[in-house]
């Protein structure tokens, strides 16, 4: 048995949530990017999580770690704005904006950071339990 219980699941979740935070940061940073490397407006990226069965010696039961399953582009069309002065405007003066909705991104940001905090508190508790186990017999 591990010295620090539950640390693998917690560590994997912290990593997954951090990836999610990175992607959200990328979306917000590119909220007004109308031309990417491929010449198209930026497409919002979404993260999906998968659970993975934790194989551990001497343990029976379905314990799961988390991993990032896929980072995929959100295919929904971006808003089209009339702005003839814009360098990326087409012949009709319309500019296609990225499909990033700042409100959604902020909500996702809060959810991800709360989930990160929850997992941190699990890590803190695990450590406390491990230290307490070392104190047995003192």
């Amino acid at each position: 048995m591990d010295l620090i219980p539950g640390i693998e699941a917690t560590a994997s979740a912290l990593g997954a949530q951090r990836t999610r935070l990175d992607i959200i940061a990328q979306n917000i940073a590119n909220a007004h990017t109308t031309r990417g490397p491929d010449g198209q407006p930026y497409q919002r990226q979404t993260v999906s999580f998968e659970s993975e069965l934790l194989q551990q010696a001497g343990f029976t039961g379905p314990l799961h770690t988390v991993r990032v399953g896929a980072v995929a582009a959100d295919k929904s069309p971006g808003e089209r704005v009339y702005d003839p002065q814009h360098p990326d405007a087409d012949a009709g003066g319309m500019v296609t904006m990225p499909n990033v909705n700042l409100a959604y991104e902020m909500v996702d940001l809060i959810t991800a950071s709360r989930a990160y905090e929850a997992n941190l508190s699990v890590a803190k508790n695990s450590r406390q339990m491990a230290l307490k186990a070392l104190e047995i017999g003192r």
């Binding site: 048995m1 219980p5 539950g6 640390i7 699941a9 917690t10 994997s12 979740a13 999906s48 999580f49 998968e50 659970s51 934790l54 343990f59 029976t60 039961g61 379905p62 314990l63 799961h64 770690t65 988390v66 959810t111 989930a115 929850a118 997992n119 508190s121 699990v122 508790n125 695990s126 406390q128 339990m129 307490k132 186990a133 104190e135 047995i136 017999g137 003192r138």
Partner: protein
């Protein structure tokens, strides 16, 4: 006996850690210590039928979760956090119990109060 319960507290902590880690994984069902374990523990203690060392707790998926979200996930993160605090306190208490057992043994061996 306290040692068995300590093991169970560790396993429960692992289950809670797994639940909180997967709080946003679609389709994940929350897990907990096998309820049979607690029942078997009670009956064996009542009858003194079997030494406690033969018992082992295991983790099973919780079939009776109160709510399941549309994505098939049944974790309620608030409950899990509360459950974790409770379990940690229980664990602290059990380590104290084990410590005091050891202290008693030492007193019996040496004849002195070593604390």
């Amino acid at each position: 006996m306290a040692g068995r319960l300590l093991d169970m507290a560790v396993i429960r902590h692992e289950a809670i850690a797994s639940n909180i880690a997967n709080a946003e994984t679609p389709g994940y069902r929350r897990v907990d210590v096998d309820p049979d374990f607690v029942r078997v523990l009670r009956t064996t203690q009542a009858k003194m039928a079997m030494p406690a060392s033969e018992l082992a707790a295991s983790v099973v998926a919780d079939q009776h979760a109160r709510t399941v979200r549309p994505d098939g996930n049944s974790v309620e993160i608030e409950n899990e956090l509360l459950e974790m605090s409770r379990n940690t306190v229980e664990y602290d208490f059990l380590t104290d119990v084990v410590s005091s057992h050891i202290k008693h043994l030492r007193t019996a061996i040496t004849g002195r109060n070593t604390s």
